[in-house]
């Protein structure tokens, strides 16, 4: 194929293309930050329980078995909409009642959370369930 | 009006005319299948001229003409198809 193919051109295109894509990505990120307030329920973050609940979620590595908004481990149910699926009381009772000890069944450890911590966790899961996730998941089962 | 000698100038004039026609059609509110076909046809004409004369693929290996003219034809065909689907 008669055409010249030079390393210098390929390198310049690499630098140009990389900078171009990064700027394009930054522009879309900037746009995202502008629109997020209408979608991410940030008002609920004024409630210290939600903030504490997120810390408890992290410190107990719930993401090691569960998914949250579809991201995480696939060993245990999606918890992004569990507040809507089960409601607060079920969530607290379930966490307190673990592990079930049923032989052969997947086991959730006992995290010994105080009543206050359980309420914080429920507040966080309520907050997560109200984020505008473009109608994901497809149904309540998550 | 003598045609300008330089091919680039002639291509430029043809494309200007095509653009103004599309703009006129648009302003006159032309709609419906024939309007879509005419506008797409003008766009394809401009596209072919850019590919062959501005990009000088007229003198390039056949492969590159096939790739780019193929792209233009495929896009135009799919647009017509979906505009037709939209209009039924």
């Amino acid at each position: 194929m008669s055409s010249t193919f030079t390393t210098s051109a390929a390198r310049n295109i690499f630098y140009g293309g990389a900078v171009f894509s990064f700027l394009l990505f930054l522009a879309l990120t900037f746009r995202t930050e502008q629109v997020l307030p209408q979608r991410d329920q940030r008002a609920q973050l004024d409630n210290p329980q939600v903030v504490a609940g997120k810390r408890i979620w992290e410190n107990n590595n719930c993401i090691g078995c569960h998914t949250l908004l579809g991201e995480g481990a696939y060993f245990a149910p999606e918890l992004g909409n569990v507040y809507k699926r089960r409601g607060p009381d079920f969530i607290k009772a379930w966490i307190k009642g673990q592990p079930t000890g049923v032989p052969g069944r997947r086991q959730m450890p006992q995290f010994n959370l105080t009543e206050q911590e359980l309420d914080d966790m429920v507040a966080f899961l309520k907050y997560a369930s109200e984020i505008n996730t473009a109608k994901w998941p497809p149904n309540i089962e998550g | 009006m003598t045609l300008p000698k330089n091919i680039a100038d002639r291509v430029w004039l043809v494309m200007l005319a095509a653009t103004l026609t599309t703009w006129a059609l648009g302003s006159s509110g032309a709609t419906g299948t024939w309007a879509v076909l005419v506008m797409l046809g003008l766009a394809c004409l401009k596209g072919v001229l850019v590919i062959l004369d501005f990009m000088e693929l007229r003198h390039a290996p056949l492969l590159w003409r096939i790739l780019l003219l193929g792209w233009l034809t495929l896009i135009a065909a799919l647009i017509v198809l979906f505009y037709w689907i939209g209009s039924t």
Binding site: F5, T6, T7, A10, R11, I13, F14, G17, A18, S21, F22, L24, F25, L28, R31, T32, V35, L36, R39, D40, R42, L45, K54, W57, E58, N59, N60, N61, C62, I63, G64, C65, L68, L69, G70, E71, G72, A73, Y74, F75, A76, P77, E78, G104, R105, R106, Q107, P109, F111, A128, I131, N132, T133, A134, W136, P137, P138, N139, I140, E141 | -
Partner: protein
């Protein structure tokens, strides 16, 4: 091996292989826990095994990249490494930090680990792949800076080649994007948004530069094709990788609360992400076919070609399978994602590190290639591991499709655990394939100890 200081890569490769075995073992534990729920409970709950599995993978790949860089940069720059001593010190710091972190995962409950490591001062724990205590993260940054200082000094004083330039950009990019792991806002959407700047911009951004640079280096050595041709193709491939990968991050922003334009941008650009891997496979086979020398290390050539193919299959094809928003709406957070994850990580990054090890280890031990017998065993290892990984991916894909059907698409959706019970057959088959994969890994390690007729260095 032209420069004595390149030998500093050996401990990194040995450390990498050690963690690789640990990673696969914990993978097998988890595979069994998928079917026998209370296996090893409460001693090693699933989340702990998962942390060890994923963290070991990332740490040993980083060690592999570091080893490859310590071997490759001096040879490309045609000068001795700036400070081999620093490289060795950093190796032990990195290995000990990784070991302590794993012991921390296994010995105490995660909440206790968070408390004793003072996570509250700067909370960064509890997020997937970034579970390391904050002090370990700081340790990783220090090791990375020392590593980059050492290599950059070497790079600056030596010959500038495209391979070195691309590798250094990739490694600096890796360190810079890791800094986003320290950003952990209360806002869950922003937390996830910038979390992907570490994860996605690594594996579908700067790591592809590192992958390209290492593969190009090995191909130049193995095929003898002149550097000019290979470096041109390298630039084209990594430009395609960055152009598609950068905005391709959008395919993670469909359902986490980000604006809905990402569904279009993410789908369009990530649909182009297989193109660089396809070009890489074409490039690898093209170079090998046009080789100008018969390199004695046929195993390394096989690994290099395998990398191209499996990266295209795992990251390209299996990625495209569920990258378009309308499809991802149903497959998001299912076993389809796990299937893609396994084959993409293996095909793109595990295989390129093994390619580099297979190529450079014999040279560091004073011979051009291992004996014919050893190479046959190594090729057996290649096929055992690769075929086993293909089956793991196929079984998880089947599980994922059934899961999507039962739990998401059908009009009477089953609950999560009910669905898991329905697909447990595939989990059993995946576990068997996992055992075969472990056999492949062991075979690979054995191949380094097989004697045979010596080859000239």
């Amino acid at each position: 091996m032209k420069y004595t200081s390149q030998a500093v890569a050996k401990p990194y490769f040995i450390g990498a292989m050690g963690l690789f075995v640990a990673q696969v073992l914990f993978g097998l534990i988890m595979g069994l826990q998928y079917v026998i729920g209370d296996f090893l409970f409460p001693h090693i709950p699933f989340n702990v095994a998962r942390m060890v599995h994923t963290n070991a993978l990332i740490v040993w790949l980083l060690m592999g990249f570091m080893g490859s860089a310590y071997y490759l940069v001096p040879e490309e720059a045609e000068t001795e490494l700036h400070s081999p001593k620093l490289a060795l010190i950093l190796f032990w710091v990195f290995l000990i930090a990784a070991a302590l972190t794993v012991i921390g995962y296994l010995a105490v409950p995660y909440a206790t680990l968070a408390r004793i490591t003072g996570n509250d001062l700067l909370p960064t724990m509890g997020r997937e792949f970034l579970e390391q205590p904050t002090i370990t993260k700081i340790g990783i940054v220090i090791v990375a800076l020392g590593f980059l200082y050492n290599l950059s000094m070497t790079f600056l004083k030596g010959r500038k080649t495209a391979i070195n330039t691309v590798l250094m950009i990739g490694l600096w990019g890796l360190a810079i994007f890791f800094l986003f792991s320290f950003y952990n806002p209360h806002n869950l959407v922003k937390d996830k948004f910038y979390w992907w700047w570490v994860v996605h911009l690594w594996v579908e951004g700067v790591w592809e530069l590192i992958l390209g640079a290492i593969l190009a280096f090995v191909l130049i050595k193995v095929t003898g094709v002149d550097r000019e041709v290979i470096e041109k193709w390298l630039y084209v491939i990594i430009t395609l990788a960055l152009v598609s990968g950068m905005v391709g991050t959008g395919h993670h922003y469909f359902w986490i609360g980000a604006p809905e334009f990402w569904q279009w941008w993410g789908s369009v650009f990530s649909a182009l992400e297989p193109v660089p891997f396809f070009a890489m496979t074409l490039f690898a086979f093209n170079m090998v076919n046009r080789r100008r020398r018969e390199h004695p290390n046929r195993a390394a050539t096989l690994w290099a070609l395998g990398t191209g193919v499996m990266a295209f299959l795992g990251a390209g094809v299996w990625g495209f399978l569920h990258t378009l928003a309308p499809v991802n709406f149903y497959t998001h957070g299912t076993q389809i994602t796990a299937a893609h994850g396994h084959m993409a990580f293996y095909g793109a990054y595990v295989m390129v590190v093994i390619t580099m090890i297979s190529y450079s280890m014999p040279l560091m031990r004073g011979r051009a290639a291992n004996s014919n017998k050893a190479q046959v065993v190594e090729m057996w290892a290649f096929w055992l591991m690769t075929v086993a990984m293909v089956f793991i991916t196929l079984f998880l894909t089947a599980a994922g499709i059934l899961q999507v059907w039962l739990q998401r698409v059908s009009d009477t959706p089953l609950g999560f655990m009910a669905t898991q019970d329905q697909i447990s057959l595939f989990y059993w088959m995946r576990e068997v394939a996992g055992v075969v994969f472990l056999i492949g890994v062991v075979t690979y390690l054995v191949s380094f100890f097989i004697k045979g007729e010596e080859r000239a260095a």
